[in-house]
Amino acid sequence: MSNTPNLEFFPENDYIAENSPESLVVNVDGFEGALDMLLTLSRTQKVDLLKISISQLASQYLDFVAKAKELRIELAADYLVMAAWLAFLKSRLLLPADPNDDGPTGEELSAILAFRLERLQAMRNAGAKLIARNQLGKDFFSRGIPEALEKKRTINYTLSLLDLMQGYARIRTRDDFRPFSADRESVFTMESALERMQELLGFSGDWNDLMSFLPEEWQNEPKRVRAATAATFAATLELVKSGAVELRQTETFAKIELRKRTTE
């Protein structure tokens, strides 16, 4: 117990950095937690881990924490938890075992701590051994020019006879409506009729036969006349709606006449 831990004994010199005259900040980053610090402390006993005096280790650690407090060093929570646990362990080791107490004995607690220290040390050694192994890309190598696996995709198209028949049926059905798309030559659109009417109305203020508005080239073939008449009539209705034109028909099947609406 004379082995009072001296804070300066910690491995790195920068472990304790002077922050202000009154408080010291412990560079806890140097340690990976309280267990790691205990492991480091245990090495100061210069015996192998299994022969270590846990009670001496506990005292070392508690002295360190006490000194840290005295020096107003802020310690992380896990260091304090460890300190409390070690204080408990020490009391167990010092006091005679209470036969009525079911809790672990001081020896058992010591064994637990020794086991944890050993296990940590073992993993640390294992990690070192692992990293010391030959490594891919450092000591042994894979093929420098790997040959890519060429992925060839074969597409298998499926088509049943039913699909084929349905496809054909679809086209034949569509034929019924073909005039819409097929007979472009005999179609006079309402848009072109409207355009034409707007031009012609500019010159005419009298009543005129709707038929006189048909373009000349659309007045010979019956099919074309019908198309042009329908388009022109529709355009006229559009013009009436917008208030540009007046429309009249004296009796059924009589001529449809129209004139430009004059603004009064």
């Binding site: 190598f141 093929r143 060429e150």
Partner: protein, 230 residues
Amino acid sequence: MSDQPNKSLGEHKIGEVDQANLFEAPSIPEQQRMVEAILFASSTPVTVSELKNRMPQGSDPAFALDELKVQYSSRGVNLVKVGDGWAMRTSADLSFLMRKETIETRKLSRAAVETLAIIAYHQPVTRLEIEEVRGVGVSKGTVDLLLEMDWIKFGRRKMTPGRPVTFVVTQHFLDHFGLESAKDLPGLKELKSAGLLESTIPNVKETGEGVDEEERDLSENLDQPELFEE
């Protein structure tokens, strides 16, 4: 991979090495191992002089390469010269192992189905005729796909201006659909009675002025109810 290398080692080099460069040059098998490892790991072909630079003093990579080349010539991987350098390559006859073939099942596009159907029902038929029936153009891709699938082929040229080429269905097509001939395809009436045709059967004669003989034949064909059995 026989005992060849050992033989040749004995004959060509080991003696020399033992006497002259005992403490310098690695043994010939060692040099071969080195060349092997360097070529394997390098991401680019390696020249002889680069090998020499990388290998211990007194090495003769050119010789090791020659030996290795022979050894590997019968293996799945060969030593090949690429420009000035050397590299390992999969043996050409095993290139099929480097391909992963996947088979994907896909539905034929609507355009392709319709084009195929028109060819089947109207054959021999020109591209223009297909377009007339479908009411839209037929893309080259669609025709190519059907040709590639070996479902259609070129038929006789039409004796009309421009002598356009025609399309007919192939034996493979018939086999695929279990048909004896294209005439076995169900007619429009069967399609209708099977509920496949919603509207009335159009009168083929009306659809245009220039219905040629074949089309008329077809329309007659379609009027005769045929039993379709699959």
